[in-house]
Structures are given as C-alpha cells and as structure tokens.
C-alpha cells in the first residue's frame, strides 16, 4: 500500500483505539494488532505526531509502582476521525466500482 496513505490511516486507527477509554502504548498496539500490522517503532512516531497536532493528550499515572503514560483522545481527535470517515465515503464508492468492473471482466 502507498506509504503516505497508510500513514494517514494508521493515525486514525490509533485515535479510534482511544475512543472507548484512555489507553497506553502497549495496549494500543495489542488492540490494533488483529486489524493492522503495527510495531512499537511505528506506533511511537504516530503518537508523537498526534500529540503535536493536539489530537490526543498524554498524562502519566502510576501502575505497579512505576509511571505509565496514558493517551486520551481530544475533541480535535474525534473531529479527525469524523473527517476521515466522510472523506472515505468517496473512496468506498470508487472501490465498489473497481470491484464490480473487475468481476465483470473475469
């Protein structure tokens, strides 16, 4: 898949993983693993980028005697997911068209 495209979608995947509850790095990765291949080193820059664009907030909380960073989605982050879904309606239509034409061709 086109790298630039995948980058954008991964951002939204990470934001979506925070919709239900605040989460931490390892859990986000595990939650996403059944849908998309993502490693720590991929996730890290995404989290930094999302934080920089204030799509999520970071706070530390104690866990088992150590500090763990938790990530929480912001209203801006939710807006980004909404925009993504809106934008991809068009892509979905094109996808259906391509699939249909391909089926007829086979």
């Amino acid at each position: 898949m086109d790298i630039q495209l995948k980058r954008g979608i991964l951002d939204i995947c990470v934001l979506s993983a925070l919709l239900k509850e605040d989460s931490y790095g390892y859990k986000i990765m595990k939650d996403l693993q059944s849908y998309v291949e993502i490693s720590e080193s991929t996730l890290y820059p995404i989290l930094r980028r999302l934080e920089a664009s204030s799509a999520l907030k970071v706070y530390s909380a104690e866990h088992n005697g150590r500090l763990r960073k938790y990530y929480a989605i912001t209203p801006e982050g939710r807006e980004r997911i909404r925009e993504f879904l809106e934008e991809w309606k068009g892509v979905q239509i094109m996808y259906e068209y391509i699939k249909k034409e391909m089926k007829e061709d086979e």
């Binding site: 630039q4 931490y24 790095g25 390892y26 859990k27 490693s39 720590e40 080193s41 991929t42 890290y44 820059p45 989290l47 930094r48 980028r49 088992n64 150590r66 763990r68 960073k69």
Partner: protein, 202 residues
C-alpha cells in the same frame, strides 16, 4: 541485551538530537519493555522483540522537523573536526560562483514547482468559466424565447448546460488533481528528510 543496555544504546544513538525528544523516546521504549515483561515475556525476549535499534532511531529521526535534521547533520559532520583556514578562505572567495550556482538550482526547482501549481490554477479557471456559462445560457434562452425565436433559445440553453456539465466533470477531476499535488508535496518533504537520516547512518 537487557533493558538498560538497550535504552543506553538508544540514548547514545539519539545523543545529538533535542533532549526532550531523546527523553520521551527512552521513556516510551522503557515502558514498552516493562509492559511486555508484565505480559509474561522474559527481559531479553522483550528487548529483542522491539527490533533493531538503528531502525528505531531512524524512525524517530525522520519525524523531527527538517530544520532540526539539517542542524544536527551539520553538527555531526563538523564534530571534533576543525575546518582548515584555507577551506574557509576558498568557500568565501568562491561564494560568487557556488553561491549563484546553488541559488540557480534552488530557483529552478522552485519554478518547476510553481509551474505545476500554475497549470493547476489555470485548469481551475477553465472549470469556473465553464460552470459560469450556465448564466449567459439562461439569459440567452429567456431573451430569445421572449423575442419568439424558439430555435435559438434552445441552442443557448443547450450550450449553457453542456458547458456547465463539462465544468462539473472538470471540477471533480481537478479536486483530485489538486489533492494529489498536495499529497505529492508532503511525500517529497518526507523523502528529503528520509534521505538526510539515511546519510547520517552511513
């Protein structure tokens, strides 16, 4: 390799980069190892599953702003080395030559980029004028109808509608093209940063 060794090594690789960035990365990867161990992995196993340190460091660097990358790169290159006087002298004396050459190349690249946008804008102008054709079409239609020449009236209406239709198609296409150019710009920017990071590793 255990957790401390891993984190020290990563810190060393990022030593020249902004302190905040380095600190945040170390914290993140330390936490990842802790969480994996809590999940039942052995320390060595947890560290190994993170992948190669070089790759991890590269990923972090690519995300830094371009200006930081360039600054760090020049710092790395001149680290521990003093530039000889004759090199500085040559650089200063040669400036009229290499300076203008560099400027010319940059100007050329920029004008190429501007030209792409110019074509894009030109097509948008065509698109808007096609859409606007519906107005004279309607005016002509009613004017001719009023004067009783039904044939001319429909020619006006037809051409107005046809132009507007073409305009709508062009609008859809141009939206995609313009978006594509924006994406392409982002891609180029990312590639430039990537090439800077790669060169550093060599």
């Amino acid at each position: 390799m255990n957790k401390d060794e891993f984190l020290t090594e990563l810190e060393r690789k990022l030593a020249d980069y902004p302190f905040d960035e380095t600190k945040a990365s170390i914290e993140y990867y330390g936490e990842m190892i802790d969480d994996r161990m809590e999940d039942g992995m052995q320390e060595g196993e947890a560290v190994a599953s993170l992948g190669r340190i070089d790759e991890i460091a590269d990923r972090i660097k690519v995300e830094l702003p371009l200006t930081t990358l360039v600054k760090m790169k020049t710092k790395e290159k001149t680290k521990g080395r003093r530039i000889p006087v004759w090199v500085i002298l040559l650089l200063v004396l040669g400036f009229p030559l290499w300076g203008s050459l560099c400027l010319a190349i940059i100007a050329m690249l920029l004008s190429f980029y501007a030209a792409i946008w110019a074509v894009d804008i030109a097509f948008w102008a065509v698109c808007i004028s096609l859409l606007a054709m519906i107005l004279p079409g309607m005016v002509g239609f009613f004017a001719c109808l009023f004067r009783g020449s039904v044939g001319s009236a429909f020619i006006y209406l037809g051409s107005g509608l046809a132009c507007a239709g073409l305009g709508i198609f062009l609008f859809i296409g141009m939206r995609l093209v313009t978006k594509g150019i924006c994406r392409g710009t982002g891609w180029c920017y990312h590639q430039i940063k990537k090439s800077l990071v790669r060169k550093e590793e060599q």
